[in-house]
C-alpha cells in the first residue's frame, strides 16, 4: 500500500539521518555532513547514515558516528576528517565518538547516495536488510538480481561474496562483460 510504504520510508529516513532540531547543532551537523567516505568518496557520511548525532553546547561540539562494519578501517579516517572539518570551521573542543547501537544498516543509505553510487560504478544495495533477516532460512540463500551499474543489465552474477572493502561484494556483468562492485545489503 502506498501509504504504508510512504510511512516506512519516512520512518527509515528519520532513523537514518537524525538531524538536530536546534539551529546551532544543525549548523554544525551540516558541516560534519560534508565529510566523505575515504573509500567511496562520492558518498558523504550523511548519505551513508554513519553520522548519528551532532550536539553543540556552550563551548563544545559532540559528534557520534557509527561504523558500517565492525572492523571497517575507514572509521578512523572519517573520525579524523570530522574533527578536521569542524575545527577548520572554527569550532573548538570537538569530540567524536563511535557508537555501535543501533547497528548500522544499508537501509539507511539515502536515495541520492544510491544514485551517486551507481554513477560512480558501484551497484547500490537492493532490497531491505530487514527482508534479508526474516527471509527463508536454508543452505541456498535467495538473492535479488543486481543491476550492472554500467549497462543496467540484470544478467549479472556474483563472483565473490567479499570485495575490495568490507561493505562490498564482487560481481560481473554477463552482457557488457565488466566486473563491478556491489554494495551488499547489511
Amino acid at each position: 500500500m502506498v501509504t504504508t510504504a510512504g510511512t516506512t520510508a519516512a520512518r527509515i529516513e528519520a532513523e537514518a539521518r537524525p538531524r538536530p532540531t536546534d539551529a546551532a547543532s544543525l549548523a554544525a551537523w551540516r558541516i560534519a555532513a560534508q565529510v566523505v567516505d575515504p573509500e567511496i568518496p562520492v558518498l558523504t557520511i550523511e548519505d551513508l547514515g554513519v553520522l548519528r548525532s551532532v550536539t553543540v553546547t556552550d563551548d563544545a561540539v559532540a559528534v557520534t558516528l557509527t561504523p558500517t562494519y565492525s572492523g571497517c578501517p575507514a572509521m578512523d579516517a572519517m573520525r579524523d576528517d570530522v574533527l578536521e572539518v569542524l575545527t577548520s570551521a572554527g569550532y573548538e573542543n570537538v569530540a567524536v565518538r563511535l557508537v555501535l547501537s543501533p547497528a548500522w544498516t544499508t537501509d539507511w543509505m539515502s536515495e541520492i547516495g544510491k544514485a551517486k553510487l551507481r554513477e560512480y560504478g558501484i551497484a547500490a544495495p537492493t532490497g531491505h536488510a530487514t527482508a534479508r533477516a526474516s527471509g527463508p532460512a536454508g543452505p541456498i540463500s535467495l538473492k535479488m538480481a543486481v543491476k550492472c551499474p554500467r549497462c543496467s543489465s540484470l544478467n549479472t552474477r556474483e563472483l565473490a561474496h567479499f570485495g575490495s572493502t568490507s561493505c562490498k561484494s564482487l560481481y560481473e556483468c554477463r552482457d557488457c562483460l565488466e566486473p563491478f562492485d556491489y554494495f551488499k545489503v547489511l
Partner: protein
C-alpha cells in the same frame, strides 16, 4: 604522535590530527560501562575466539586457492578483528587495560579461546570446515546475545550477527562446492570435518561462569539444538555424515590450550614485544 610535534600546514589534511590509538580505544563505545569481573571474563572468552580466528585467517592472504578467496578470508578476518576490539576493550574496562594490552601482553594460559579456533589452517578444506562450524555457532550465539541484559554486549552482538551471517553463508557455499566437487575435493572435505569434529563439543560446554551471568551471557549448551538444526540441511545436501567418536579434552576457557596457540601468539605478539610502544 609526539605531543610537541610542529604544527602542520593546512594542505596536509590529516596532518594536525593526532591518530592516538589509546584515545580511540577509550571512545570506541558511547557511554560504555565498566564491566564486572565476570562480564569481563565472558567478554574475554568471545573476544579471544574472534582474535585468534582472525589471526589464523589473515595467514591465508596471498595463499588462498584464488584471489577472490584471499579477499574473502581477509574480509572475514577484518570483521572478526572488529568484534575482538570491541569485546577486548570492554573486558579491559574491568582491569584498566587497553585492548592492545590484552591482545599483545597476555601469555597462553591467560587466553580463553576455544580449541577449535586454535586448530591449524591445514588445507583450504580444513579452514572451510573450521569456518563452517564456528560461523554457525557464532550466528546462534550473537542472535541470542542481542537480548543480553548487558547493554554493551547486546550492542556488540547486534552488530556482529549481521556480519557473521555472511561468514556463515560463505562457508556453507564452500562446503557444498568442495563436497560435491571432484573426488579429491570431497575426500579433503570429509577429512577436514573428521579432523575438526572432536573440537565441537567444547563449544557447547557450560561453565560456572555462565551460571553467575544468568540473563547476561548465553548458555553454550542452549545453542546446540539450533546449531544442529542449522547445519543438518547443509550436510545432508553435501552428503556428508557428522563424524562420531573421539571428543577432544578442551579446556580453553580455563587457559588450557592446544600446542598450537603458543606458536600463533608468538607470531602475533613478536613485533609489539620487540618494540614496546611502537606506532606509525
Amino acid at each position: 604522535m609526539e605531543a610537541d610535534a610542529p604544527a602542520q600546514t593546512p594542505e596536509d589534511i590529516h596532518g594536525h590530527v593526532a591518530v592516538d590509538v589509546t584515545t580511540l580505544d577509550a571512545e570506541l563505545i558511547e557511554g560504555a560501562s565498566v564491566a564486572t569481573a565476570d562480564v569481563a571474563e565472558y567478554a574475554l572468552w568471545l573476544g579471544d575466539d574472534a582474535l585468534v580466528l582472525a589471526q589464523q585467517l589473515g595467514a591465508w592472504i596471498s595463499r588462498a586457492p584464488e584471489l577472490e578467496e584471499d579477499v574473502a578470508l581477509g574480509n572475514v578476518a577484518l570483521d572478526l578483528i572488529g568484534h575482538a576490539r570491541s569485546l577486548l576493550h570492554y573486558a579491559g574496562t574491568a582491569s584498566n587495560r587497553t585492548e592492545d594490552d590484552l591482545a599483545y601482553w597476555r601469555t597462553e594460559p591467560d587466553f580463553r579461546s576455544l580449541h577449535i579456533v586454535e586448530q591449524p589452517n591445514g588445507d583450504f578444506a580444513h579452514t572451510i570446515a573450521r569456518q563452517f562450524i564456528v560461523a554457525h555457532y557464532l550466528f546462534e550465539l550473537y542472535s541470542r546475545l542481542r537480548a543480553s541484559a548487558d547493554a554493551t554486549l547486546a550492542a556488540i552482538a547486534a552488530k556482529a550477527v549481521k556480519e557473521v551471517d555472511y561468514h556463515r553463508d560463505h562457508s556453507t557455499q564452500w562446503v557444498l562446492r568442495l563436497a560435491q566437487g571432484t573426488d579429491e575435493s570431497r575426500r579433503r572435505m570429509i577429512t577436514a570435518f573428521s579432523d575438526l569434529w572432536p573440537y565441537v563439543e567444547e563449544i557447547f560446554r557450560d561453565d560456572p561462569l555462565i551460571d553467575r551471568l544468568e540473563g547476561i551471557a548465553v548458555r553454550p549448551s542452549s545453542l546446540l539444538p539450533a546449531f544442529d538444526a542449522a547445519i543438518a540441511p547443509v550436510l545432508a545436501e553435501a552428503e556428508l555424515d557428522i563424524p562420531s567418536g573421539f571428543v577432544a579434552s578442551g579446556g580453553g576457557r580455563t587457559g588450557k590450550h592446544s600446542e598450537h596457540l603458543a606458536f600463533l601468539l608468538a607470531e602475533m605478539q613478536v613485533l609489539t614485544r620487540a618494540h614496546p610502544g611502537a606506532s606509525w
